[in-house]
């Protein structure tokens, strides 16, 4: 598609939320929060269902009124402004196409309501339809369209109005996997061409990281972290963000302060920060390396593993130290370009390692496992990130 040829304006409007809160009776859907979406930015709101992300989007759209706080779009405060007067367009999860209207009338409805002169209305509908390759479907009703086609009509209905801000409420969740990927790319391309501000809601963290220029992670009505996908993934502000983003999920190990002042748990004893008595060590599956039994020095029953381990996504800097603990392989998932090695450990935990498909391990094998400490994370008892890299203060034998 080539939406850039539609002749739409290419400047978006910024969206600013100041102290916005939304309550439904006693239920707090959105805790007081500040959020800024920059002009022309594609911001993704992500979180588990019920976290308030859709409510936040509806607050921006004007479909809900904030209990307190201010909503600004561009230079205008809009929290008392009707949705139709906010210069926003929205694509709904169910597409919300008017079932009794043809595709052409669906596309033109917003313009008709605004009293756009007929020749201009027809021109814009035709241009949008051409850009989205809907030209042959204009006389059909939504019931006669496939899921993907409906999705495009919904997108077209938003585009045709040339809004300052596009709002997407989980628009891909009703598509099959292949179409979802394609549409995701199309939305990204649309954003590159239009340069319009877009706010995109999803519960899918992969979608969020791949689509968003910045990502806002929400949980239980609270904004947990706002940042670039890289920041969200590599420097999660808290345990929730660390656990929510990434698949398979980040590996965790609860730690508590031992007599020697170290944070200990399972096979680990860390020279942790002075503060908390309890903490959680979190390591991404690609930041632990498994050395197969054949590659380990000595058999599974004895000695330190000092291996030429096959690193996960290790950068080869030598920062992954072999033999942090030993464990038994529970299960191996071969995914083609990589494999996931499920471990019976460390301690009572069950960690997963992402490994090269070249690694030869089988269930029941005793393996040596190393942690890339400089890429691991430590979270305090309140779940907040503890700054600094956890360092092993001495190894316990598992």
């Amino acid at each position: 598609m080539s939406p850039g040829e539609v002749g739409l304006r290419t400047a978006g409007q910024g969206v600013v939320l100041r102290g916005v809160e939304k309550r439904f009776g006693d239920v707090v859907a959105v805790q007081p929060m500040d959020l800024e979406v920059r002009p022309g930015e594609l911001m993704v709101l992500v979180g588990p269902s019920g976290c308030g992300k859709s409510t936040l989007l509806r607050l921006i759209a004007g479909l809900e009124t904030p209990t307190s706080g201010e909503v600004w779009i561009g230079e205008r405060r809009v929290d008392e402004v009707e949705p139709g007067a906010r210069d926003v367009a929205m694509v709904f999860q169910s597409y919300a196409l008017y079932p009794h209207m043809t595709v052409a009338r669906n596309l033109g409805f917003g313009l008709r309501v605004r009293g756009t002169p007929r020749p201009e209305l027809e021109r814009r509908v035709a241009e949008t339809a051409a850009a989205l390759e809907l030209g042959d479907l204009l006389e059909r009703k939504p019931g006669q369209l496939s899921g993907g086609q409906r999705q495009r009509v919904a997108l077209g209905r938003a585009m045709v109005r040339d809004p300052g801000v596009f709002l997407f409420d989980e628009p891909l969740s009703n598509l099959d996997a292949e179409l979802r990927l394609r549409t995701r790319d199309e939305i990204a391309a649309l954003h590159r061409r239009l340069g319009t501000t877009m706010v995109f809601v999803t519960h899918d963290q992969v979608e969020a990281l791949s689509l968003g220029q910045r990502v806002a992670v929400m949980d239980r009505g609270r904004l947990q972290q706002v940042g670039t996908p890289d920041e969200i993934y590599r420097r999660p502000h808290n345990l929730f963000v660390a656990g929510f983003v990434g698949s398979p999920p980040i590996n965790r190990m609860p730690l508590s302060r031992d007599g020697g002042g170290r944070l200990a748990g399972g096979p680990f004893a860390l020279a942790g920060p002075p503060g908390p008595d309890r903490a959680t060590l979190a390591v991404r599956p690609e930041d632990i390396a498994v050395a197969g039994p054949g590659e380990a020095d000595g058999d599974a029953s004895g000695g330190e593993a000092d291996s030429s381990a096959v690193w996960g996504s290790g950068d080869g800097s030598g920062s992954i130290r072999a033999g942090d603990f030993r464990s038994t392989v529970l299960r191996v998932e071969m995914l083609g370009s990589e494999q996931l090695v499920h471990l019976d450990g460390p301690g009572d935990a069950a960690w997963v390692a992402r490994a090269s498909p070249a690694l030869r391990v089988a269930p029941g094998d005793r393996v040596s496992v190393s942690v890339a400490w400089e890429r691991s994370h430590l979270f305090g008892a309140d779940g907040r990130r503890e700054e600094g890299v956890p360092r092993p203060a001495g190894r316990q034998v598992s």
């Binding site: 479909l63 929205m90 709904f92 919300a96 008017y98 409805f109 309501v113 109005r161």
Partner: protein, 273 residues
């Protein structure tokens, strides 16, 4: 519990046939009586007319100005149906979709009026119409029939099934309540509108009591009142009355043939009438 055997199917068929006969017998009786002579009705012999007297029909329908009655019935029933659709659709939409203070309380109040038997409000209605000097006029006949709480309930329930996202989409598109009602809600509520219009029309068509009360002249009479008029203090002309009855039922029967599915839908909602 499969009942695909011959015996259960036959039993069910017989039961249904019996029920059909019970339902149809008054109509059959009406049809047969309409073809009898005046004395033959009471002869107590066969239920079948000895010689069908087709002339009963033209005679009955010209004994009184039935053409005028049919026109009056048509005006009355059409106006009532149109009026009830207009009031029920707008009120139903408001109750379903517009948040206003006291909405639920007001709706319960509306519903509670369904518990008041229609006969109880007959006299107050008559007094109002009389005070307005509308006795024996179309406006007197029609005006108090224009609102149906059942219709409001029906439309409200239907509007509640219209996905809210459609309304949200229309709001973001810039539409207000009236526009959403007209362009989105009402077109989607067509089945409910058809059901309501049909039931309102049929109810008005067969209404005897109210037209009997507020009409006096022959010019304002409706068909039902005309049929009742064959039933005077000293004489009952059964064959004529039945012939006029058959003529009055025919338009409704025809309507039913073409709109059966809306009738069925209405009957599914009938539990609350």
């Amino acid at each position: 519990m499969a009942d695909h055997g011959i015996a259960p199917r036959m039993a069910r068929g017989l039961l249904l046939a019996g029920a059909c006969l019970v339902m149809a017998s008054p109509f059959l009786w009406m049809g047969l009586t309409s073809l009898m002579g005046q004395l033959e009705v009471f002869s107590g012999g066969s239920m079948l007319p000895r010689v069908p007297r087709w002339s009963n029909y033209p005679e009955a329908l010209t004994a009184q100005p039935f053409a005028r009655y049919f026109l009056n019935s048509l005006v009355f029933a059409t106006a009532v149906a149109a009026g009830q659709v207009a009031t029920s659709a707008t009120a139903g939409y408001a109750f379903a979709r517009i948040d206003f203070p006291g909405r639920n309380g007001l709706f319960m109040l509306f519903l509670s009026t369904m518990m008041v038997p229609a006969v109880v409000v007959l006299i107050p209605r008559f007094l109002v119409i009389d005070a307005l000097d509308w006795i024996d006029t179309y406006q007197g006949l029609i005006s108090t029939e224009l609102v149906s709480v059942w219709g409001i309930f029906l439309m409200r329930q239907y509007f509640r099934t219209v996905p809210r996202e459609l309304e949200d989409a229309a709001r973001v598109d810039g539409a207000g309540h009236l526009r959403i009602f007209w362009s989105v809600g009402l077109p989607l509520a067509k089945p409910a509108v058809a059901t309501l219009a049909l039931f309102a029309f049929v109810d008005a068509w067969k209404n005897l009591l109210w037209p009997l009360l507020v009409t006096r002249s022959m010019e304002m009479r409706v068909v039902e009142v005309g049929i009742a008029a064959f039933h005077s203090t000293y004489e009952i002309n059964w064959p004529y009355q039945m012939a006029a009855g058959v003529a009055a039922v025919l338009p409704i029967a025809l309507l039913f043939l073409f709109t059966q599915r809306y009738f069925v839908r209405g009957i599914q909602l009938e539990g609350i009438r």
